[in-house]
């Protein structure tokens, strides 16, 4: 199950793209840096899922997509668990909740943000770089394409894996190390496909008249809505909580 924009009409979809982006960033920082105890962290994750459900996001898809990072979760759990003397469950779970929180926050953000909103957010964030002569628009475009390409690349890996199994490869057999080694043949075709897709995208953009230079007008204009103020306040509270729990 891949995470990508799914059309919807809840309050989460209606938020200003800048507020959405900032809220997502703050949540990611919160789950990465907070100094809370395990129970509070689990509560925070539950609250995040509650808000996602309230915003009518496809929670099943989000939860199913966790299987893509199970390996990362296990590694983090093991590393954190063995940090002290012997294995301890609490730090292992804390580490895993941090990863899950970051993953779900980013997943929610990508689910409610179409390409145009992502582009608006990154352009706004990069705008100050223009003062230093850096190409803010182009950097924003690169960011958006990179983010949007991740699910495409994941499905590409799935496709190649299926094509190899469909012709006799036994990728899933033979324990951890042989499974890891079997992933290597996926890498070159995936990279080749990424280059092919990149060229296709460039052609498609040129075909639609995209040019790097020049002042561009905006088809969608984003204002401040009813839910933007509480969402902004929530971002402020979460940021304060992160700093307070970590540094004070």
């Amino acid at each position: 199950m891949q995470i990508s924009y799914k059309p919807g009409s809840s309050f989460l979809y209606g938020l200003n793209p800048l507020i959405k982006g900032v809220l997502c960033f703050v949540l990611i920082m919160f789950f990465s840096l907070n100094g809370l105890q395990l129970t509070a962290m689990a509560g925070s994750l539950a609250a995040l899922l509650f808000f996602a459900a309230l915003g009518r996001l496809p929670l099943t898809d989000l939860v199913l997509s966790i299987k893509r990072i199970w390996f990362l979760l296990v590694i983090v759990g093991l590393v954190q668990g063995f940090r002290g003397n012997g294995f301890e469950l609490a730090p292992a779970l804390e580490g895993m909740i941090r990863i899950l929180g970051v993953f779900i926050a980013a997943g929610c953000y990508l689910t409610v943000s179409p390409q145009s909103e992502l582009m608006f957010f990154w352009e706004t964030v990069f705008r100050p770089l223009r003062l230093f002569g850096l190409p803010a628009r182009e950097l924003a475009l690169v960011m958006v394409i990179a983010v949007r390409f991740l699910p495409v690349m994941l499905s590409e890996i799935d496709r190649i894996r299926m094509a190899q199994i469909a012709r006799g490869a036994r990728l899933g057999k033979g324990g951890f190390f042989s499974s890891a080694a079997a992933l290597m043949p996926l890498m070159i075709p995936t990279l080749a496909q990424a280059i092919i897709r990149g060229e296709e995208l460039a052609e498609a953009m040129e075909a639609r008249g995209y040019r790097v230079s020049g002042n561009r007008t905006r088809y969608y204009r984003f204002g401040i809505g009813f839910f933007d103020v509480p969402a902004g306040l929530l971002a402020l509270v979460v940021a304060t909580l992160t700093v307070w729990s970590r540094f004070l």
């Binding site: 099943t60 012709r167 057999k173 080749a192």
Partner: protein, 270 residues
């Protein structure tokens, strides 16, 4: 006795919703097995379940009496042949299956070239070309060659006729008929008439239920009732008066003409 791929109480679901329920029956060698039904009836899902890619199912898939282990024992061509390509040349694509089965290095290229030739693609012309450069029909044939070269016991094909012209379709049906002598060939298709023979084995999926037919029964039902399955109108009209005959001809103009001539001369004699 040749091995059978048996479905036992098989229910295939998507997101908890069953798309094909309680399928019981078997696919065998000696004839092409056809999986037909309207779009969305669960044909491709069943194929992916047999291949082990779709795991949301209950019931059993047995091969020769034991639970079917897909790894290394099947090949599958997808609806879109491009989905199958991940190498940079046609030769590498066809050789991949042989390498996976650890064939001796000096046997791989000659066998791959011979197999490509058999699918109507000149090795000298196609072997080093990129698969994405080929025409739709050529891609389809490369995909089929790449999937069948290692001769796995179970060969699964999802809509193999798309992109092939009439001659290509006929040649494919002949090739698959040959393969079906020793392998279990299961074909998902919206054009069963290309493969249909009186002794074909057909699993017809409709509204979540599966019904098994012999080719003869399927043709008879389709001729009597256009709602059952939309075979070509000319075939149904020509054979309408003969729907009670003991055996109907395949959907082929020559076969139908000789069948009608034979039936008429038989009636005249009587």
């Amino acid at each position: 006795m040749s091995p059978q791929l048996e479905l036992k109480n098989l229910t295939v679901s998507y997101g908890g919703k069953p798309v094909a329920q309680k399928l019981n029956g078997s696919f065998g060698c000696g004839r092409i097995n056809l999986l037909v039904g309207r779009a969305g009836s669960g044909k491709s899902s069943l194929l992916l379940t047999i291949a082990g890619f779709h795991t949301e199912f209950s019931g059993q898939i047995l091969y020769d009496g034991a639970v079917f282990q897909p790894a290394g024992n099947f090949s599958l061509t997808f609806q879109d042949p491009e989905s199958l390509f991940f190498n940079t040349s046609v030769g590498d694509e066809v050789e991949y299956s042989l390498r996976m089965r650890e064939l001796a290095e000096n046997e791989i290229t000659p066998r791959a070239q011979q197999w490509l030739q058999r699918w109507g693609l000149e090795p000298e012309k196609f072997y080093s070309r990129h698969p994405f450069e080929l025409s739709g029909g050529e891609k389809r044939r490369v995909a089929l060659a790449a999937c069948t070269v290692a001769m796995p016991p179970v060969i699964l094909l999802d809509e193999p006729l798309a992109g092939l012209d009439a001659n290509g379709q006929k040649a494919l049906a002949e090739m698959l008929n040959q393969l079906a002598h020793e392998h279990i060939v299961i074909v998902v298709t919206h054009e069963p008439e290309v493969f249909l023979h009186p002794d074909s084995n057909i699993l017809f999926l409709r509204e979540g239920q599966g019904s098994w037919f012999s080719g003869d029964d399927f043709l008879r039902q389709a001729v009597c009732n256009r709602e059952f399955y939309p075979l070509p109108r000319w075939y149904c009209q020509a054979l309408g008066p003969f729907s009670t005959a003991s055996s109907l001809p395949p959907v082929n103009a020559e076969a139908v003409a000789s069948f009608i001539a034979r039936e008429k001369s038989h009636a005249d004699k009587l």
